[in-house]
Amino acid sequence: MLDDAKQADAQVDNVLEVNNIEVIYNHVILVLKGVSLNVPKGGITALLGGNGAGKTTTLKAISGLLASERGEVTKGSIKYRGQDIQHADPAETVKQGVVQVMEGRHCFEHLTIEENLMTGAYTRTDGNAAIAADLELVYNYFPRLKERRKSQAGYTSGGEQQMCAVGRALMSKPETILLDEPSMGLAPQLVEQIFDIVKSINEQEGVTFLLAEQNTNVALRFAHYGYILESGRVVMDGPAKDLRENQDVKEFYLGMSDEGRKSFRDVRSYRRRKRWLS
């Protein structure tokens, strides 16, 4: 009995478990080659890596958006609260409490900011009053959106669009937000501001985040735990604090090194060595 309870506890701890998944696009392009990761409840987990590493693909595999891009999870499993979701369609996944904020914001350009936010509440069935209350909540986190509520989203700035995208996701009353590259194309100050808000949403609303970022520096400052992806594989993971201190991470992702910059040749041999090791 006691053991069972403990096991259940451990299960609840990780809301999301990705187990050794393989993803193929167009039936031929193998992009993820066995990615595993755990997302603990109430935390901010970062998914790091360079261009084309597979971060977006991983998030889309979880949210179910892969199918509309002719991508497919061919191996492994994705469990949300212990339930298989790799074959669920995105609407079901949203109803279960997982919503993705896509890379590049993807606001509905011809809808106003407020209409964008309201569309986020599409799957909800808990009544207009609850939805209106959450709209106020979103405006509290993003006062800027309230000022711009009647503007067409297409005419707002990049920062406002990012806020709109996050706010729209919040409107679904999610438990977990998959946030893809929120820093993309934003000024450092704005990036900081967005991450601050993400942090307070995480702390005050208890929303779990899985965060894909190229901006390793910022991501590791705000996240609790991090995974590093490289060409479709997890090459390293650990608490954000450790990753920040890690020599390899510093070299490759934070752009600093004790011995100064290594030459490209060194980097290549280093990678080869690493592959042998793993």
Partner: protein, 335 residues
Amino acid sequence: MNEQLAFTIEVFLNGLMAGVLYALVALGFVLIYKASGIFNYAQGVMALFAAMTLVGIQNGQVPFAHLINAIFGTDVHKFGWHVHSFAAILLTVIVMIALAWMVQQFVFKHLVGQEPIILFMATIGLAYFLEGVADLMWGSELKALNVCASEGNCLPQGMNVWLEGTTYEALGYGFFIDNLDIVASIVAAVLVAGLVIFAQYTKQGRAMRAVADDHQAALSVGVSLNFIWVLVWSLAGFVALVAGIMWGAKSGVQFSLSLIALKALPVLMLGGFTSIPGAIIGGLIIGVGEKLFEFLIGAPFLGGATENWFAYMLALVFLVFRPQGLFGEKIIERV
């Protein structure tokens, strides 16, 4: 009051009424194109199919009678009852929704993410398939469509007299306007207003616009594309039904009805493929333009029959000088 001017005004009004029909067909195109990027070649055939279904139900025809008789050696043609216009329209709406569902389920669901040209080809296939089905279901002979209370009397009693009386007083000349046209225009206006209200102020309407803007993003917040696309095809089917009724009530239900789609093309070039106001204004401009041109220039100087090509000429001029159309949506640049 100058006789010529009065005639011109009458031609103008008749043009407006014709334009209403073009606008409706174009509206069907715009709805589907906006929401799914599919250029629906079958829109005209949908109008035909809807009108045939309506007449068939009204007259109590047995669907697929020919086929049934051929297989079972029976000789059934009619149920022997007549269905009231309103009930028949309602049933036809249900048939059009079922059609929308089938189109999505059996065709476009499997083509998600394909090239636009492939989707377009699919609608060409759909058009011919649907034409065949309509033929098989209801037979191909010309049928009269009568949706008015009694033959040719659509307006409340006395309205026609009133209309002629007032125009006589105002212009010294009583118009001849088909009262069917007036009803048609009112119905069309109500329909368009209804559509706009639906799109602007309801949850599903908002979702429909969201899908039109960015369907990946709509998917990501849990909007079911399948559902929205069935909805859009249903609306287009409904619009096609209204267009079919108007055309059918004027000239009978026959296969040439599917050709009004060709008249909608120049309307789209004029109004822009993604603009609902564009479809409406474009339809009216083309309707009025071709009638006035025929009356003022075509008939006296060019030997008439200009209505066949005028719309395309106008569209061509527009394509050269304003390719996005009158109201084609501005592409919003990312800031």
